[in-house]
Amino acid sequence: MAHVISDETIEYVGILAKLELSEEEKAQAKKDMGNMLDYMDMLNDLDTEGVEPLFHVYPLSNVFREDVVENGDERDRMLANAPEEKEGAFKVPKTVE
């Protein structure tokens, strides 16, 4: 079945992915995603009844360790990577009205 991706779906995915797409990018994304999903529907041919999903190759559960600080004070070097900083803190747009 050919997938037709609606404008609403692309808007929704844009919200989830935190991306703002131009009209041109949206049109391309609709086409690409439709093609990809058509292709991925191949998996429906496969009988996976009773198969446990394999999230990870090893049967890992939570791995615990002591919470010990090992790194030194890197504040200035870390702030040097910040797009904007002010008085030793990351500067962001107003978040509370």
């Binding site: 779906t9 929704y12 995915v13 844009g14 989830l16 992915a17 935190k18 991306l19 703002e20 797409l21 990018e25 994304a29 690409d32 995603m33 093609n35 990809m36 999903l37 292709y39 991925m40 191949m42 998996l43 429906n44 496969l46 996976t48 198969v51 446990e52 999903p53 394999l54 999230f55 990870h56 190759v57 090893y58 890992l60 791995v63 360790r65 790194n71 890197e74 070097r77 870390m78 040097a80 990577n81 910040a82 797009p83 904007e84 990351f90 962001v92 747009p93 107003k94 978040t95």
Partner: protein, 487 residues
């Protein structure tokens, strides 16, 4: 003396014996980089000053007897998705164009402990998403065998740098073939270790359940030596595993008598270039002549690996790349209206098209209503693929396979059609889904004279077996230097 034409182990011996030095080796590497890299663009960033300072110190420590390992003083290139303290780490993206990490990836720390000189950071597909090294924000890498062709990807800069002798060896990373496929395209040897062998701490994450760091080098012995140096159980990566030290002298032996080799019939059919098939079968025959037992078999599920992989990798990527929000580091847009607009515009301007495509696909397959149909279905398919390999390894020690359907495509050819590009990963991605080790070694050339490598896949933790098969095949051939290496 052409120091960069030596293998890493040969160079290491000459440095330790005093015939040359870490400083001389690094200087020659930088002189070659200056001469060649405008053409091939293997590097995004070089750190000549830091490297030479480090090399001087290494020379002192070798003379004082403090550093005695096989890689001491050897200059290496590091893929630009591995964090290096004080050296810009871009991941091939505008998003991280000016990012300078405050810590070094564990694998690189391990190399530094071994006395390796870090020359700089290699170019790559943006966030390791691509098969050609053309999606880098900093421009494409060119194949040193022929500049009209891509080097493969995403570790294209690392593989091209080894081939063009702009370093002694390099580190790459492999999420779906990103070490093995470009190694084939560039005529070098590249190894993706068993998942968990190398700590991923400091590797900028793409698909965390698939990513592994590994060596790219001129030969199998170098790859084994680098693997031994970078492997470690690291409390900072909870998926890293404690492995007993590998017995490399047993692995690097010209002996495949009785070794059971399987070639999946489903890998040799439609879609595989005739020249590549001939190279693979020729290499298999060479191993058979050395006493290995060769058999074709049906692996099954081969075509399902691609959709399963792209669903899982995109899902993990959409989650991993959520951290790039323009707040603590990375690109921030200039004009915005409030916090959410800042997030969205920073991400939209900071990421390139292929990265956005995968983030969107990943967000979609994880969204409510589609999670079961796509994401869970892909994970169940992954379980079946793992089982198929499990059955195969009951009968075979090593699985032989192509690394890619063709030799290196021309620049610009692959990006037109995403699905066609994804199909090119058919022989490599299942290995990541199952967490297996795989190595690519050169085994011939196609009609255009472009190199072709054969992939050897082992069961989890069976690196010794694939190294032994790869080493034995290597002894039947001589290493062919690319034209750029001889400049």
């Amino acid at each position: 003396m052409e120091l960069m034409s030596l293998t890493a182990l040969e160079l290491g011996r000459k440095i330790r014996s005093g015939e040359t030095s870490a400083v001389e080796a690094a200087k020659e590497a930088f002189s070659r980089i200056r001469r060649l890299d405008d053409t091939f663009h293997c590097y995004v960033t070089v750190d000549e000053e830091g490297a030479l300072r480090k090399a001087e110190e290494t020379d002192r420590r070798i003379r004082s007897g403090e550093l005695t390992g096989p890689l001491a003083g050897v200059p290496a290139a590091i893929k630009d998705n591995l964090c290096t303290k004080g050296i810009r780490t871009t991941c091939g993206s505008r998003m991280l164009e000016h990012f300078v990490p405050t810590y070094t990836a564990e694998a690189v720390v391990n190399l530094e402990k071994a006395g390796v000189t870090v020359l700089g950071k290699t170019n790559m597909d943006e966030f390791a998403m691509g098969s050609t090294s053309e999606t880098s924000y900093f421009g494409p890498v060119k194949n040193p065998w022929n500049q009209e062709h891509v080097p493969g990807g995403s570790s294209g800069g690392s593989c091209a740098a080894v081939a063009a002798e702009e370093c002694s060896f390099a580190l790459g990373s492999d999420t779906g073939g990103s070490i093995r496929q470009p190694s084939s395209f560039c005529g070098v040897t590249g190894l993706k270790p068993t998942y968990g062998t190398v700590s991923r701490y400091g590797l900028i994450a793409y698909g965390s359940s698939l990513d592994q760091i590994g060596p790219v080098a001129k030969d199998v012995s170098d790859c084994a030596a680098v693997l031994a140096a970078i492997s470690s159980r690291d409390p900072k990566d909870s998926t890293s595993v404690k492995r007993p030290p590998m017995d490399l002298s047993a692995a690097l032996k010209e002996d495949v008598k009785g070794l059971r080799l399987g070639i999946p019939r489903d890998y040799l059919g439609e879609g595989l270039d005739d020249d590549v098939r001939a190279c693979i079968l020729g290499a298999a025959k060479a191993l058979e002549e050395q006493g290995a037992v060769l058999e074709e078999f049906d692996l099954s599920l081969v075509e399902y690996a691609i959709p399963a992989y792209y669903i899982i990798a995109s899902a993990e990527a959409s989650s991993n790349l959520a951290r790039f929000d323009g707040v603590k580091y990375g690109y921030r847009t200039k004009e915005y209206d409030g916090l959410h607009s800042m997030y969205k515009r920073s991400r939209s301007e900071g990421f390139g098209p292929e990265v956005k495509r995968r983030i969107m696909l990943g967000s979609f397959v994880l969204s409510s209503g589609y999670y079961d149909a796509y994401y869970l279905k892909a994970l169940k398919t992954r379980a079946l693929i793992r089982r198929a390999f499990g059955r195969a390894f009951e009968r075979y020690d090593v699985i032989l396979a192509p690394a890619a359907p063709t030799a290196a495509p021309r620049l610009g050819e692959s990006l037109q059609d995403p699905i066609r590009m994804y199909l090119g990963d058919i022989y490599t991605i299942a290995v990541n889904l199952a967490g297996l080790p795989g190595i690519t070694v050169p085994c011939g050339a196609d009609r255009q004279g472009l190199p072709v490598g054969i992939q050897m896949i082992g069961d989890c933790f069976q690196e010794e077996k694939i190294l032994r098969a790869a080493y034995t095949l290597e002894q039947t051939r001589t290493y062919v230097r690319c034209p750029a290496a001889q400049e």
